[in-house]
Point group: C2
Chain length 416, copies 2
Amino acid sequence: MTDHKTANNDAFERMTASTPVFTEVLTAGEALPGMKPNVVLTSGAPMAWDQYTGGQRDAVIGGALFEGLASDAADADKKLKSGEIIVDGCHDYGCVGSLAGIYTASMPVLAVENTANGNVGFCNFFEGPSPKRLNYGTYDEEVRETLLFVQDVIAPTVAEAVKRSEGGIPLRPIIRRALGMGDEMHSRNAAATLLFGREMVPYLFEMLADKPDQVRQTYAFMSDSPYFFLRLSMAAAKATADAARNIEGSSVVSAMSFSCSQFSIRLGGLGDEWFSADLEPAQAKLFEGFGESDIEFMGGESVITETVGLGGFAQAAAFTLQDYQGGTPEDMAALNRSMYEITVGEHPEYKIPYFGFRGVPVGIDAFKVIDSGIQPVMDIGIAGGDGRQIGAGVLRAPLACFEQAIGAYNDKYGSR
Amino acid sequence: MTDHKTANNDAFERMTASTPVFTEVLTAGEALPGMKPNVVLTSGAPMAWDQYTGGQRDAVIGGALFEGLASDAADADKKLKSGEIIVDGCHDYGCVGSLAGIYTASMPVLAVENTANGNVGFCNFFEGPSPKRLNYGTYDEEVRETLLFVQDVIAPTVAEAVKRSEGGIPLRPIIRRALGMGDEMHSRNAAATLLFGREMVPYLFEMLADKPDQVRQTYAFMSDSPYFFLRLSMAAAKATADAARNIEGSSVVSAMSFSCSQFSIRLGGLGDEWFSADLEPAQAKLFEGFGESDIEFMGGESVITETVGLGGFAQAAAFTLQDYQGGTPEDMAALNRSMYEITVGEHPEYKIPYFGFRGVPVGIDAFKVIDSGIQPVMDIGIAGGDGRQIGAGVLRAPLACFEQAIGAYNDKYGSR
């Protein structure tokens, strides 16, 4: 049998040595390896078009319409069925999707380079504070205008600012500090958004005379949306997790992802194969006026943050989240502590003040998950069937994914 | 006997209803009631000049020199002895001093109005990141230049920005949010500084074309110094605590303050009389290279934050502080919890996430302190004899102050 511990330590070292740097803004067509004009990317292990349902299906159709690939929803559906428009999974194109996570070729993406490893992760932009968003399954004139505003005003301004920074904005120091300021980098990015804004202001000052309106609008957009930084956190996590891809013998999870129906994982030692199982219900706290029956899964790849030891794996750094996603501080600390039992080690620099500055637990070992029966926990936004966020909560990765993955691992490498 | 509970509830209501708003920047001479050109204000209940020793004495002399009231230190000493220059206590002039806390007439101050009560609190500006600062007992050409930079560049720029805000910058929402982001508003103001910076940027954008250098320098000064906001927090706390002054029958502490040798308190029902006792040693964590014997008290009135339920009374909101001032999260939570036993009630809006959003404990009741023997705890910066910050720690208010205060209370109002 292969010594998975050495491989896992390698995965752990590569993830914790990662130095994500926000380097540029590009279009998805320019940035994403393999991206084509007729492709719509969505969250989760890729499925056949007819398996996408509800809000995620609507979101893919919305993406096709936004990109001008179809004249109306029926036309988009026909073309998606025929393969004239291709629906595919974000992860295979170097990016990760928030909720439904729609990417089309013209949309702007944030590029985050893991300079320690030379690879790049991408994420698209937060759509802004409106509850109606494409990534929550809604597409109409209002959503289209917001997407165009992001494309025409926010993205070019952020692009120019980061270009002026010469070398990009290092995100590791921002994440390190934000963990000491109540963020866990998934459902809470309030401090990181402010810290990032602070880094951008000197460049915005330089640009103000030439582009006064764009600069003002962009600063307001960035600072009014505590979720602005989430997209950079996701791109950073993707660039970090990808450093643990394709490590011979590794049983460390290199990606987690879900679609409208399936939760999926990849292991570093098993290439790009997904191991999937039905989603389990989330433990949700819903906004006023919504009930359990309103909850609808539409996909989600922000769980890449948990893959690298953040989000639910750092929730004891973010007790303020209890207000948003429920639970008590004691529950949050206990859940967070249990994640140390299924991970390889502790991050040397990302630390949890409440745990006496213990490093966040990094590197989910599928063997440890199976042996302990402890499911990885994730802090997620909850979507409603009417196409908007209706709450937040805690999701657990199904054990069945890990059982399948370990089965495949044993087939390839021999049983322990 | 007087019903102190009703009076104390009144004090509590007035403190928790306080709405501090940063309204303007003025000179101390313009702003402080009773301020005169030959006055140097310092921290603590006022003492005769010959009782000020060490760094606090040096700081007062430095203030006199900065203001041009004397030709050299010997001249300043002579004039302070003769009364030609007057040394007095900050609190009687509506302001509070950080460490030695020097104010002279030409220095700029931040004005914070408690709009719910109509009174105003003042604090001077953070001197910047250099370890050599007047308020840590050092005065030389470098310190003088920093003070002039603050006076000539930072203060006028902040003054114009706040004027442009029309109505000022409300601080209550900033404090509320910062408590959810790891600040306790005394030894940690990292989030509040960022939140305040975010409020200022739109006005700095407006001013950039006219004053490009000043705006850039001011933004850098504000955002590089996590202590920038402390001075606003102190002015807000002073404006809040003063709302609990002069409430007939109140046994609630309306001010705490210390000099180089004495710790002093005031009670709301006993006018402006100070009750003083010798300072107790602080539980300190010192920066690399310093030892206990380097510690020197030079005064401090940032403990006005504890007077209104922040700082040490909110330390469980700021576990990151353990890195800076020592202690474990468990100790911090226990100390913080014990403060509920000596206070009147819980703030309706300033809350501690780790305590399940329990409001911070507000209104130190001297009777409860005496009955329980629990001393108020304060998060403080520690000064060294060489005139700089050498660490941070936890200070306890001496019980003897409270015994004297209760003695005077009983003399005035009759024993319980």
